[in-house]
Symmetry: C2
Subunit: 342 residues, 2 copies
DNA sequence: CTGAAAGCGCTTACAG
DNA sequence: CTGAAAGCGCTTACAG
């Protein structure tokens, strides 16, 4: 394969200066139609492709957007990454992806690496709260889903969405509910819990009392399974009638625990998630959950990043309740149960 | 934030020439210890970080590896991407990820985009056979898992691994088996099928006859579910006693179909997958499957890419059988069933 | 071993 | 509107 043609080659072929070639390339400035045609002819004749690196060096700008996620094997982040890539593409940008494995140091070094190659901007889904503080960067940075440092955040309105789940469960008649929370060192974990708990509290004050238990875990399957197993390994009358989880993965873990304990979902137990990963619609029974609008989130994040000047305001997007087979009315009134105590 | 310091600043601060700075940066050539120290002092005093773009322009080399996968939301590819990122990192390289959404044109344009930014090399998991043919590139390209063009392939030995499943099922006593194949326009799809079928054939010739049905689909959940539903919506005596799928996702879809049809797995039906995605260990029952050694595959691919000269030989890595709860002996001998016909 | 200089391939004031 | 020239920040022969 011979050396790639450069602007110089194109200029010679077209009989113009390199400046002119560059100008038709940029498309911005006015160039006489005849010259423009000649240049375009030369470009296709030679199969010229601009050298992105040289351009980047000269302008200290690239069309690459850096994305750091905590864990690409987490289906929600994978979906988010796919959406960001699509959104970036729509704006003529490429995506550089890094996975921090929930490690703050790795996250930091990925951000630095992006900075070093003067990306156009960086979107980060923070590994945990407090990461990315005191960071100064020459390019815009946007937090997505989980706040990174003090950078503007685009996220689902976790609290509003969690309240939707509370409404749903209370509305079905559940009065003994367990909430499996996410890590409290993440904004998402806290907001979801707070939205859920305060909505339940509100019901407790204005209507029937609700018994609410809260357990804390990570956002993954294992955590949900383990916590649910603990919660459900009690005599039926002491068990919650509904388990609301802070993530689909936890909820799916809970579903598995329920199955292992031969507790029928949704007849003996309702289970709800959060995220609406594609799997939520495939487990048995299908999972009632909150849909996070990944495409919208991604588009907004990319939009803020590319705005001139870059957006500085947080953006919240409402989540929506997706009711499927894993939630239903509680089995029977508490009163009945007393007689069965052993 | 003030302008980033350059080699020039470092040189001035240290009282040496930029050439010397560059030389201590590269570490290769010999530099007098005293000067080296001065330069290193200047570097940390100024907080100097090399400009990756300038270096790339000068050397037409970068430390970025491009990875194209068909669909990042596919758990297996997500895992593969995570492994490739880790392997790249271990070699001091960064990863640029693109998802082709199983679209050949998108795949092509992603590869071109990588080429344009003179990445160190490209790893591609092809969207389908025949993509990437006749491509000439200035940097090494390696196919991973699914062959891209005629570039060297690192993959699991699909045929060997699929034969392991055949051994397992036959060994359990299954004599009526359905195989849900993957797309035949992928090497993986074909190899898995061929490995499975030829092993079954071998048993058929040397031992008891096996009734084998084959259905074709995509590698995803929906495909598996739909096909299994068709397969299993027959009177029990006409149903296969085992369904082997070409992917975990298909198998998980099949599990769902079985559940919907109230067919007990594994007592009435065995189901097996391929890939060992993390979900395989979380579905109910846990899925018997083939583990593809993602880390090993990734490391080999990166290794071939970075070798001088780049590797030209295919590499196969054996998969291993993971037996879990979704497979077991068939329910009862066929003879019993005749009486139940209606 | 070290410095001065050329050059990677672009873009963009600066003249005209 | 167009060309000639400078310069982005590096690396690397080339002398010495």
């Amino acid at each position: 394969m011979s050396k790639m043609p450069t602007v110089k080659d194109v200029a010679e072929y077209a009989g113009v200066s390199v400046g002119t070639v560059s100008r038709v390339l940029s498309g911005e400035t006015a160039v006489k139609p005849m010259l423009r045609e000649k240049v375009n002819g030369a470009i296709s004749a030679l199969g010229y492709r601009p050298n992105v690196t040289a351009r980047a060096l000269r302008t200290s700008r690239t069309d690459v957007i850096g994305l750091v996620v905590p864990d690409i094997t987490n289906p929600f982040f994978a979906q988010l990454a796919a959406s960001v890539e699509r959104a970036a593409l729509e704006c003529g940008h490429s995506l550089m992806l890094a996975s921090s494995h929930n490690d703050r140091a790795a996250e930091q070094s990925h951000v630095s690496a992006f900075l070093d190659r003067s990306v156009r901007g960086i979107i980060v889904v923070a590994s945990s709260d407090g990461s990315g503080l005191h960071l100064e960067a020459a390019v815009p940075i946007i937090s997505l889903d989980r706040r990174f440092g003090t950078f503007p955040l685009v996220s689902t309105n976790h609290a509003q969405a969690a309240a939707l789940i509370a409404d749903h469960l209370y509305g079905l008649g559940h009065r003994h509910i367990a909430y499996i929370a996410g890590p409290l060192d993440t904004e998402a974990g806290r907001m979801r819990q707070e939205g859920f708990v305060s909505q339940i509290d509100r019901f407790g004050r204005t209507g029937e009392r609700v018994e609410l238990e809260i357990a804390y875990g990570r956002f993954d399957y294992e955590s949900g399974e383990r916590i649910a197993r603990d919660l459900l390994s009690r005599p039926p009358q002491d068990r919650p009638t509904a388990v609301a989880a802070a993530s689909d993965q936890q909820a799916i873990g809970a579903l598995r625990a329920a199955r292992d304990l031969k507790i029928d979902v949704p007849r003996k137990l309702s289970v709800t998630g959060f995220d609406d990963i594609s799997l939520a619609n495939l487990v048995v029974p299908r999972l009632t959950t909150i849909r996070q609008p990944a495409d919208t989130l991604a588009r907004r994040a990319v939009g803020l990043l590319l705005e001139e000047p870059p957006g500085r305001e947080d953006e919240m997007v409402d989540g929506s309740l997706i009711v499927r087979g894993s939630s239903g009315p509680p089995a029977q009134p508490k009163a009945d149960i007393a007689g069965h105590r052993n």
